[in-house]
Structure formats: C-alpha cells, structure tokens
C-alpha cells in the first residue's frame, strides 16, 4: 500500500512550466531519490510536497491524507536544507530540540529524544557546541538529527551532500543511508549526482524538463535505461543511432553506422528508429565477449585511477571504452577488437541521438 501518493502534480511560473503531470508513489520507509539536472523541476517538486509553494494542479497524499490545503508547519514533514539552516544562536542540543519544543513535548521526554537522535548520528557529547564550532560533516548530521528527532511522516532532503568535499561526501552518503535506514523514515532526496542517487536510494525518480523520464530501482536505471536522456544521465557514454532491421525470439538486430548490432528484445517494431546504448565498462578490447564485435583504433587514452578511459575510432564513430586498470597501458594507435555481449546492448527510445 502506497504511503506517499503524488498524482498529476503540475506547477508553472508564468509561461515557464516547472513541473507537468508528475505522478508517483512511495512506500512507508522507502528512500526515493529525485534525480535530474538543474532546472528539471526536482526542487520545485520537493517544495510542493513540503508546502512552501502551492501546485497549479494535482494532489499530494501522505498516509491517505490529502495535504494540498495543509500549511507547511502542520504537514508533519521535516526538511533538510542544502546549507543545513542550523540556528546559529542555539547550541546543538537546542537546535535538535527545536522541533520538539514547537510540538509542545515536555522537557524530560525532549531531553531523552535529543540524546537518542544525537546518538543515532554519532554526535553524542557535542550537545553544547554551537554550529560555527562544527565541521561541515558534523553540521550535516546535526541537521539530520534535528529533522529525524520529530519523527516526521516524511523527510525531505534538498541536495544534502552538495556542500561537502568529495571525500567526505562519499563517507557521508554511506553513513546517511545507514542512519536513514535505521530511523525507518520515508525519505525523498533531491540530488543531481547520479552516484549519490544510486548509493542512497531504494528507488530513483529521474526528472527532465518537469516530467518523469523514468522511475525504478538504481539497477533499473543503471542497467536498463529506457530513454536516450536516461542512458546519457546515467553515464552511458555510447549512444549509437540505428534502425531495427530484424526481430526474432528474444533479440533484435539494429542496423547502425558501425554495422549490425544484436540487442536484447525491446518494445520497438522492425523499422523503428532507435538508439543503442552501451556502457563503456562492458566493452572488451580483446574481442572475446561474443555477440557484437567491431574493429577500431585507439585514439586517446586517459588514466582515471580505477580504469583507462579510451576513445576508440571504430566504424566512422568514436566509441568510449573503460578498460580496467592494472593490465598493460593501452597505446594510442593500437588496433583493438571491441566486443560486448548482447545483454549489455540496450535499445532505448528516441532515434537519431548522436554518440555523445
């Protein structure tokens, strides 16, 4: 049974449509990432659900209760702000206690829950510090404790990790997922970082230009993007335009500029213009993977630490390949035989997409 139900939500700013016909549901305790590039409407969606702005159309329900007309401070949702918005004149304990105080919870109970919340985010002992005396990661966790301590019906996090440096962000996203999991709260996380969405959420809602592009588990979006946009946003570097030339049991053949490619079956009919998406790390250089094979010449080699990123000229186009590091460094000008399996060849909607 769905806990959060969003139906046909729409919002325009003058002539600019920020959000259009957005519908989705989330189960109790589920962590959903609202993913998309800036300007896709994800922050608008969050503010609509929080009640800071009113929708032009559509409904928002939490636990079956219609929220549209409920003012923000009565929605029983907690929000985590991008810059944390900790109260600078209150110490950590008072910051965390703020929501409890506003709900009129008695002092002993308040103190107990504050202690509990600070333990949950591993900040026990820092009760008397002021926000300015804390590191960015600690401030982030105080903000999380302040939001979780009121046991909100819904936790809304707006770009929670974007103010942290790269290394801290990677630790924090694991910590945060663990904390959120233990708190058992239903969470919506706004992010533009696909890796963050993959790591932290149970399901990803990919938004583009105010409409839902695709919704599914992290594996769904990563392995089985449905559109050119989704494939591109999930870092699939190879998008090759083509036309379906044959379909038989279980697989299709797509005629492309680099030759005929075999792919998993899809909804498109023979003759349809489609795009083939292949992830760089699924392509091998030794021609041993089977199903699809093209010959090419290595043009550029970039060392990324975990892998070599190669640009290979093959069949008149450039194919990006991620070859695992550790082996011999591929050389520019080297002749290679690119190959990948049929199940790693995705047919996505939208023809004519140039290889990016």
């Amino acid at each position: 049974m769905a806990y959060l139900e969003i139906e046909q939500l729409a919002k325009s700013y003058g002539a600019a449509r920020a959000l259009q016909g957005v519908s989705f549901t989330a189960g109790q305790g589920e962590i959903v990432a609202l993913l998309g590039p800036s300007g896709c409407g994800k922050t608008t969606l969050l503010n609509l659900i929080a009640g800071f702005i009113a929708p032009d159309a559509g409904t928002i329900r939490v636990g079956g209760r219609l929220m549209n007309a409920v003012p923000p401070h009565q929605r029983d949702m907690a929000m985590g702000f991008q810059n944390y918005a900790l109260f600078p004149h209150l110490d950590v304990a008072r910051n965390v206690a703020f929501g409890l105080e506003m709900r009129g919870i008695a002092k002993p109970e308040r103190a107990r829950r504050v202690t509990e919340a600070l333990e949950l985010v591993h900040l026990a002992g820092l009760e008397d510090r002021y926000p300015r005396q804390l590191s960015g990661g600690q401030q982030q966790r105080v903000a999380l404790a302040r939001a979780l301590v009121v046991r909100p019906s819904l936790l809304l996090l707006d770009e929670p990790l974007s103010n942290l440096d790269t290394l801290l962000r990677k630790t924090m996203r694991n910590d945060m997922r663990e904390i959120l999991r233990r708190a058992g709260t239903t969470v919506l996380i706004v992010t533009h970082d696909q890796e963050e969405a993959l790591v932290m959420s149970d399901r990803i809602l990919l938004l583009a230009n105010g409409v839902i592009e695709q919704m599914g588990t992290p594996e769904d979006l990563f392995e089985r993007p449905r559109t050119v946009f989704a494939a591109h946003f999930m870092d699939t570097a190879n998008l090759i335009a083509g036309r379906i030339s044959r379909a038989d049991n279980g697989c299709v053949e797509v005629e492309t500029g680099v030759g005929a490619l075999t792919a998993e079956r899809c909804g498109a009919a023979v003759g349809a213009d489609v795009t083939v998406a292949i992830r760089p790390e699924r392509i091998r250089l030794d021609g041993a993977a089977g199903d699809n094979r093209i010959d090419g010449v290595v043009r550029t080699v970039n060392y990324l630490g975990t892998a070599y990123r190669l640009e290979v000229e093959a069949g008149g186009t450039t194919v990006v390949v991620a070859a695992s590091a550790g082996g011999a460094r591929p050389q520019t000008g080297q002749r290679v035989s690119l190959s990948w399996r049929r199940c790693d060849t995705r047919v996505v909607e939208g023809g004519g997409a140039a290889s990016q």
């Binding site: 929080a50 929000m79 810059n83 918005a85 109260f87 600078p88 004149h89 703020f98 929501g99």
Partner: protein
C-alpha cells in the same frame, strides 16, 4: 581579510600606512583630545585651584538633578520609541521580495537631509497651538480643547525620535539582512508558527543590530541640542541646553564643563552597561 593583507604586507608598507594616518591623528588630537582635556581641567578647577565645587553645586541644586534625570529618561524613552517604530520598517527593508524598498529607504532617511532648524519648525507647525495635530483632534471630536504639545516632553520625544529613526532602522535592517532566509523556513518546517519563528529565530539573531541602533540613538538623543531646545525650550530643558546656558549665556565655563562631563559619564555608563547586558557573557546572552 584587510587585517591579513596588512599583516602580510612588507615592513616598509606598514610604516607608510602609519604615515598616512598622521594627519587624522593630528586632527583628532588638536580638535578633540586637547579640547576634551581642557573641558576636564576647567570642570575641576576654580581660579587655578583644584576643586570639585562645580560638581557639588550641580548635584546640590534640585533643578539640575531634575534636568539630568529628565535627560536620561527622555533619551531612554526616545530609544524605545525609535526601536518600536524602526523594527517593522527594518523588517520590510530587509525582505528582498518587497517592492518599494527604495521609496521607504528615502522616507526613512529624509529627516537627515533636512536642516535641524527647518525640521524643528516643521514640528512646531504640527504640534503648536492651532497646529495640524490640534485641529485634527478637534475635527475628529476626540478632544474638546485645543491640544498643546509644543514645549513639552512629548514634543521632544516625538521630534527627536523622528530625527534619529534612520540610525535605528539601518542598524536593525543591516543585521536582519545577514540572517539566512532558510532559517525562517527551517523554523516553520519544524512546526513553529510565524510568530514563534520570529521570536525564537529572527529576533534573537537581530539583537546585534538592536544593540548598535539603541546605543547610537541613546547617545545622540541624550546630547541632542537643537531639536529639544526649539521644541522644549527653557520650559523642559535638557542637559545640552544647560551646558549652553552656563557657557554661552552666563559665561560660567567651569560649570558648563562640569555639566558636559556629567552627561558624558552618564552616556558612557549606560553604553557600557548595555553592551555588557547584551554582549557575550552578559545576562541576555545567557538567556538565549
């Protein structure tokens, strides 16, 4: 940042900065320090003899004591009045989404653009007998006799509050503008009504502006001369008027100096007390 830049500057540079400050320091010494010491000297001497007779004369005179108390009382009243009037204006000015902020700023700053004498005569027209205020109250049948506010403490409070309002507004607006707008939304989101969000978040965070504005307005109004003299005159004299009276009319420079110093000590004392009350480690800080 500036401090860092200066500290990091080469030695020669720092000497150069010292040299550049020289004219200011010289001006300050000649025009302020020397006369101030002179005033101090005059207040504690009589015919070249050290004596506290001027101070004793001041404090033993009931009229002088009344004037001192009135000055402190009116200055406090003006500060409170300015605070109450200024805060909503500052809130309006600090909200970037409000239109017409330019016009409001101009109206608030306008008293500073008009000469003190002209402004005082404006208030005389409004507050005097058969003035605008009196006529208005009569026409509305709120009073049966003409209201006569001129040459009263009320006239002084109204007019001086008007002049020094800009300092209060700008000080508070400045500190309100530094508050992250997300804090208000965070408070609302955590279940605070807009009133509670204001009293728990906005008001405490604007305290530095309130302190600064109050101190400026208190000190300026305690030593105000032109406006209180024109609107209160000899009927409700304040300290600055006494100084003028003793120094310029009665030519008793010793007494005038003593009164000036008493005023200085009182305003300095109030300033220190207020800073301690609202500053770090003070009782108000502890409450927050």
């Amino acid at each position: 940042m500036t401090a860092v830049a200066i500290a990091a500057a080469p030695r020669g540079w720092r000497a150069g900065i010292g040299l550049l400050l020289l004219p200011v320091v010289a001006f300050y010494v000649v025009m302020f320090v020397w006369p101030s010491l002179n005033v101090l000297w005059l207040s504690i001497t009589h015919d070249q003899h050290l004596t506290l007779s001027s101070y004793i004369a001041f404090f033993s005179d009931p009229f002088s004591r009344t004037v001192l108390l009135r000055t402190v009382r009116l200055a406090l009243l003006i500060t409170v009045a300015a605070l109450v009037v200024a805060y909503p204006i500052a809130l309006y000015l600090a909200d970037p989404e409000r239109r017409g902020r330019g016009i409001v700023t101009f109206v608030v700053l306008a008293p500073l653009l008009v000469s003190a004498v002209v402004r005082a005569y404006g208030w005389i027209i409004i507050l005097g007998p058969n003035g605008l205020l009196s006529d208005l109250l009569l026409d509305l049948h709120l009073t049966s006799k003409p209201t006569y506010l001129l040459f009263s403490e009320s006239a002084i409070v109204i007019a001086v509050t008007h002049v020094y309002l800009p300092f209060m507004v700008l000080a508070i607006a400045g500190s309100l503008q530094q508050i992250d707008p997300a804090l208000g939304r965070a408070a609302r989101n955590l279940g605070a009504s807009s009133w509670r969000a204001f009293f728990r978040v906005t008001l405490p965070l604007s305290l530095p502006g309130i302190t600064a504005g109050s101190l400026i307005v208190f000190c300026l109004s305690a030593s105000a001369f032109v406006t209180p003299t024109l609107l209160g005159g000899s009927r409700v004299p304040m300290m600055a008027y006494l100084v003028y009276n003793q120094g310029i009319l009665l030519l008793d420079w010793h007494m005038a100096s003593a009164i000036a110093l008493i005023l200085l000590v009182v305003t300095a004392g109030v300033t220190l007390l207020y800073s301690w009350l609202t500053g770090r480690g003070g009782p108000v800080e502890a409450v927050r």
